[in-house]
Structure formats: C-alpha cells, structure tokens
C-alpha cells in the first residue's frame, strides 16, 4: 500500500496473509470460517496447497491465528500473465474460530452497485512504494472508485479494463495498492458500518503512478462463481 497508514487491530479482521515457507506472498479475505477469496495470479508459480499457509492478525511476525491450506480453486478461465478472471478461492484445512480480531467480510449480491467516486479502502502487507520495502504491520489506504470509462482512456489503461474489473485510486497517483497486496480486499462501508468486499487486488502499472490507478477483480461479477465453488 502506497501513501497509506498502519491499520489498527480489529479494523480489517477478514484480512489474511497467504504465505509460503513463512514468507508473505499475497493477501486474501476471509469469507467464511473455512474459505478465503483471493487472486488467481497468486498461484502462478505454486498451486500445491500443502506449500501454503494462511495467517490472520495485523502483524506478519507474531500472527494471531494460522491455518494450513487444504485446497486452492483457481477460476477455470484464468491464464497466467492475463488480467481477466483473476480470482481464486482457498479452503482452509481447519475452520477459524471467529473473534473480534478475526472474522469474515460480507459478500455483496450480484446486483450490488458501486458508483464512481465512492470511498473505498484497500488493505495489505504489500510494498510501501514500487520496488520498496515490505511492512510487518497491515496498512490501509482510502481510494475512490473510478468509472471504467475514465480508466479505459488512452492515457490511462487504453481499453484494458473489462466488465469483470473495478478501477480504484486517483489519476493524480500516490494512494494505491502495490506488489504484495495482490489478492487482498477492496471494501466499501454500507449502512451501520458494515463492510462489503467489492474487489480483489489484481493489477496495475507501477504503484501510485499518475494516471495508473489500481485494478481489482469485481466481486459482484463473479458472485455466482464464488457460490458455485464455496457455496457462500
């Protein structure tokens, strides 16, 4: 996360870290006691669930809870080095016990609409700037949803933004997700401060660069796919 701030303990209790050999690789969101939602590209190099571990809590070293991964389901149409259908569900070997600091995020219905200029938050343990250091404590940043029309402008992403993606950030740059935030949540608050997962950190050019906001997998677009795989 670039130009963000440290997150407090129970602020984003659904945030998970996907790790191999104790090293953080990707973010993920807890959507039930046994399922995580993340990005498919996190598994480009390693699809064996036995190699992966999920941790919860705001710090990577000294996590609150850790779980082994039982299975990984990547979207059937996803292809490495492409940006489409960048979504996967991960089943934990044993369910987590919910607490104030570890519990699930709400999934929106397929009809849930997010308007441009809506304030949303992205969180993660990703780099603090392009090719920069990685933090041990979870970070958060508030960004704005941008319309696909704006993001498809020639000088932004020139038509690469499809209907299964959501664009968020600022054309001026600075506040953005970055390397290592992939798979993590983009959330919006609705009535009564209830947070809904609307996006999964997917791709972008650089981090916090002018005219290069973040692109996220649009959760509502894949709502039926999630239901079919995780029954949630």
């Amino acid at each position: 996360v670039t130009h963000g701030q440290i997150a407090s303990q129970a602020a984003w209790p659904w945030q998970a870290s996907l790790q191999m050999d104790g090293t953080h690789f990707c973010g993920a969101s807890l959507i039930s006691a046994t399922w995580l939602l993340t990005a498919a590209h996190c598994f480009d190099n390693q699809k064996n669930p036995k190699m992966w571990m999920a941790s919860f809590g705001t710090t990577l070293r000294a996590p609150l809870v850790r779980r082994k991964v039982q299975s990984i389901i990547v979207h059937e149409n996803y292809a490495p080095h492409k940006h489409e259908d960048d979504i996967a569900v991960v089943k934990l070997a044993t369910p987590v016990l919910f607490s104030e600091n570890v519990h699930r995020v709400c999934l929106p219905n397929a009809t849930f609409e997010v308007l441009p200029k809506s304030k949303v938050f992205v969180t993660g343990w990703g780099a603090l700037k392009a090719s920069g250091p990685f933090p041990n404590t979870l970070r958060q940043v508030e960004v704005e949803v941008l319309s696909s029309d704006v993001c498809n402008r020639v000088y932004v992403y020139g038509g690469a933004v499809s209907s299964g993606m959501i664009c968020a950030g600022f054309l001026a740059g600075e506040r953005d997700a970055c390397e290592g935030d992939s798979g993590g949540p983009l959330v919006i608050a609705q009535d009564q401060n209830i947070w809904y997962l609307i996006g999964i950190v997917s791709w972008g050019i650089g981090c916090g660069k002018e005219n290069k906001p973040g692109l996220y997998t649009k959760v509502t677009h894949y709502r039926d796919w999630i239901k079919s795989k995780a029954n949630i």
Partner: protein, 185 residues
C-alpha cells in the same frame, strides 16, 4: 596414647531472633497466599455467557429474518436486546449483566423463535447463584402478558456457553470492522 575422640553434636539450636524471623516470613507468605485467594475468588470478575431460547408468538416468520443485516432482522434484534436490557437493568443482577445478543431467528409452531446469548461479569464462586437468579428473572419477567417475548418452554433453563465458543458466535456476523467515517480528533 591418643586421646579418645569425643562426639560433638553436629546440630546446634537456632537463636531466638532467627526463629522469630522464620516465623514472621512463614506468616507473611501465608497471609499473601490467603490474600491472593480471597482477591481472585471475591473480586476477580470474569465474563460468563448463557444461551437462552425465546418465543415470539405475535411475530410471523419472514424469510428476511435469515438475510444478514436486513432491516427487519436488525430492527427486531434491537427490540429484543432492548427488552432484555430493560429486564436485567431493573433487576438485582444489574451490576453483573452486560448485554444480550440475538444469535439467530427460526420459524416454529408458535411464531418466531430467537436464540440469544446473555453476557454477565461476576466472580466464579457466584456462578450457580447468578445463573439461578438470572433464570428466575427471565422467567418472572417473560411470564407477564406485557412482553412480546415469551420463554421457550421446551428449553426452560439458561445454558452456560464456553467463552471461546460464545466469542465465535458473537463475531459470526460479517463485515464488522473499522468505524467509518473515522472520528475526527
């Protein structure tokens, strides 16, 4: 000739000031142990959870009661929590009662049924007394025709729930995170 050796006593009696010092130390240690025991048993209050089942004969089941964060569900939860708060806040347990939490709604033959978790804080040696009193308070208050809540006669007693399990249930609803917008300082 060697002089035959005389056996010397290897022990020697303690001096009075040493006996006094040891006795004082033992008495002090005992006093500290007893003090700590009394403190933890009498003053160290811990959280206890009880599960209860309530009936609402006047309310028909609506599928929206199963929809997380639906308005009808949130409003009814609030109404039930307010009613239970009122009952305990005017009872003898008002110092021990913390809050009630509606876990879920289910349809049943007598309208709607709600499972609730009651949260109390008290010293462990009071557990049986408080559970009995809480049970009596719920029963006595919900017997009256004034309340829309009725006791579920199929499950007449409050059941104690393990703290971790209760926390799991209390945090099982989705999307509870940072307060937004953040408070300006």
């Amino acid at each position: 000739l060697e002089k035959p050796g005389t056996l010397q006593r290897r022990t020697h009696s303690l001096k009075p000031w040493m006996i006094f010092l040891i006795t004082t130390a033992i008495v002090l240690a005992l006093a500290i142990i007893v003090g700590l025991l009394v403190y933890f048993l009498e003053y160290e209050q811990t959280i206890h959870y009880y599960q209860a089942s309530l009936q609402m004969p006047s309310i028909d089941y609506n599928p929206d009661f199963s929809v997380e964060h639906s308005k009808i569900k949130t409003d009814l939860k609030q109404k039930i929590n307010n009613e239970i708060d009122k009952i305990f806040q005017r009872s003898s347990l008002h110092h021990h009662y913390i809050q009630s939490h509606v876990v879920n709604f289910r349809p049943n033959n007598h309208g709607l049924k709600a499972n609730i978790l009651l949260r109390f804080k008290f010293t462990s040696n009071n557990a049986n007394t408080i559970k009995r009193q809480a049970n009596e308070i719920v029963h006595n208050n919900l017997k009256s025709s004034e309340s829309f809540l009725k006791i579920d006669t199929s499950l007449p007693y409050l059941t104690e729930v393990n703290g971790t399990q209760a926390e799991h249930v209390l945090n099982s609803c989705c999307g509870l995170g940072m307060e937004y917008p953040p408070m300006e300082r």
